[in-house]
Point group: C2
Chain length 323, copies 2
């Protein structure tokens, strides 16, 4: 007599569990085959009303939940191998679940990262989910955030600030009516683009790396602290999308809010100068834009942000805390 | 400028992250070294007010959260290798966290299962946590629940029903005043004893296995369904603790409620007759009691529970569903 829970798992999640090690989600555990590689493990929890909005489409909630983990793996130079999911639900809303599973399935296929197992429980509180994702990296090949050295170039992938501006628009804190500006920013907030294709370039050429999830400025400060170094950033070099640039130029949001906002899910890395050309070439081959935004310098000071005239730009307090 | 969250992680969780692969919880991901072994992965979420009571001591909440995963690993014949934890908290209650971390630390040491990484987030809802635990098993050596064959003996470790009776006492559904009866039952509910020492015996001698978390009767039915077999159980052989036996004999709880209740975290396995003596010997060497409670038989019928006279015992509907 299968319960509602078993039914649900069979109907919505078993089709995503394509790896033989998932055992069709019928056992108590999953198997990940060993090998010479190291396994890279990352985990993130997200809560309705905190990390996503109740009104967000379930497909995008699922995709974001998986993608924030894939972004971590990519920044570590790891190739996705699979993930497990725990889901705390208020009720069995089949329509919500079908849409959620459909988004999850699309991305599991897109990123070749199958569901290996999970747990579904009831909660009287907000919908809460947790994903633990696994990647493979060559033995001792995971890229840490603590290995930056003075003289390294600092690179960032893609564009910065789009998601934070998208959230500001969704929250009504920034008013933009032009859909050609709104839509790409909101899309970036809802569906991050984990830079999985950049992972080999990071693995082969970066000295230190992390993904940018809590704002470029704060995350750069973390990378510098972990490495015991400082940095000088050329603010004019920070890559913005056309939409973000327009919002900033219209004075609707500040430069500081764009580089301090969260949810970019780009890769921040430092590259020894001798590796820069190879790194840039590998990124081009991977089809991922990377921009040099500054240089690692010796010292323990907070990173300095310089404007076009060489003056210091003051940024608001940077560390994001959930509490 | 470390945030409250970073402080918290450094103070309470870093000391539990003793494995070099945890990188002191300072990076975005953890490393689990590869090797010839398979990695066994299990994950469980628990929610305040659903899986534990708000009044439960934080130490025992932590220990239970880890132990339910260790129980899964043991039932699969795997040796613990580490775990990641996500924690959704309403507030940073330092006293709660200190006690929680202390319980977690004790068990991480006891079971040689270090914290590898995690994520701490805020929630407006009930405290919710999720643990993903990793174990190692020889290549293709994980014991599945789907390999039972007619003729196998059915074994269960330890004693059955204690935790369910403990919860019934805590909830006021069963009234027992004698502390010699209450206390061990409540203790079993709060702090399961994962049968990690039985893992090698299971790995070497069991044909199919799973841990008993949703009640012996329901879990046996699941194992039989997964294996495409049925079973005949000798109800009189089911191992009860003295405390549980007394509660049942006093008529305060039924046999059915003891074998249908959850949270036993014992191991249920089937063993080919030719392996039985070796299995029993290995269990004795490991210091874990195992009891033969019946036999696997061919067919797709639900397992039959026989009383001392060979009559059928009717059990209530067995499948536990969270919804």
């Amino acid at each position: 007599m299968p319960s509602g829970e078993d039914d649900l798992i069979a109907r919505y999640f078993k089709p995503i569990a394509t790896d033989p090690g998932a055992l069709g989600l019928t056992d108590d555990a999953a198997i990940l085959k060993g090998g010479g590689d190291d396994l890279v493990i990352t985990t993130d929890a997200i809560v309705e009303g905190v990390h996503f909005r109740t009104s967000d489409p379930p497909e995008t909630v699922a995709r974001k939940a998986l993608r924030v983990n894939l972004s971590d793996l990519a920044a570590k130079g790891a190739t996705p191998a699979g993930f497990v999911l725990t889901l705390a639900l208020r009720e069995l809303d089949e329509r919500w679940l079908a849409a959620f599973a459909s988004g999850l399935s699309d991305d599991a296929i897109t990123f070749d990262c199958p569901l290996l197992g999970g747990d579904t429980v009831a909660t009287p509180g907000p919908l809460t989910m947790s994903i633990t994702a696994f990647g493979r990296a060559p033995r001792n090949g995971m890229i840490l955030r603590s290995r930056a050295q003075p003289g390294d170039r600092i690179a960032v992938s893609g564009t910065i600030g789009d998601a934070a501006l998208g959230l500001a628009i969704l929250s009504g804190n920034v008013t933009v009516s032009d859909p050609r500006i709104c839509e790409p920013l909101i899309e970036r907030y809802r569906i991050p683009q984990p830079r999985v294709h950049l992972a080999p370039a990071v693995r082969d050429h970066a000295r230190a790396a992390m993904d940018v999830s809590d704002g470029l400025a704060g995350d750069l400060a973390k990378l510098c602290r972990a490495s015991g170094v400082s940095a000088i950033i050329d603010a004019a070099a920070v890559p913005f999308s056309e939409a973000a640039r327009e919002v900033i130029e219209q004075g609707k949001a500040s430069f500081a809010s764009a580089v301090s906002g969260g949810d970019d899910y780009e890769i921040l890395c430092t590259v020894a100068k001798g590796h820069w050309d190879d790194f840039a070439q590998a990124a081009r081959s991977a089809g991922v834009a990377v921009t040099s935004i500054g240089e690692v310098v010796a010292g323990n000071a907070a990173p300095k942000w310089r404007d076009a005239k060489g003056g210091d730009i003051a940024l608001p307090p940077l560390s994001y805390s959930h509490f």
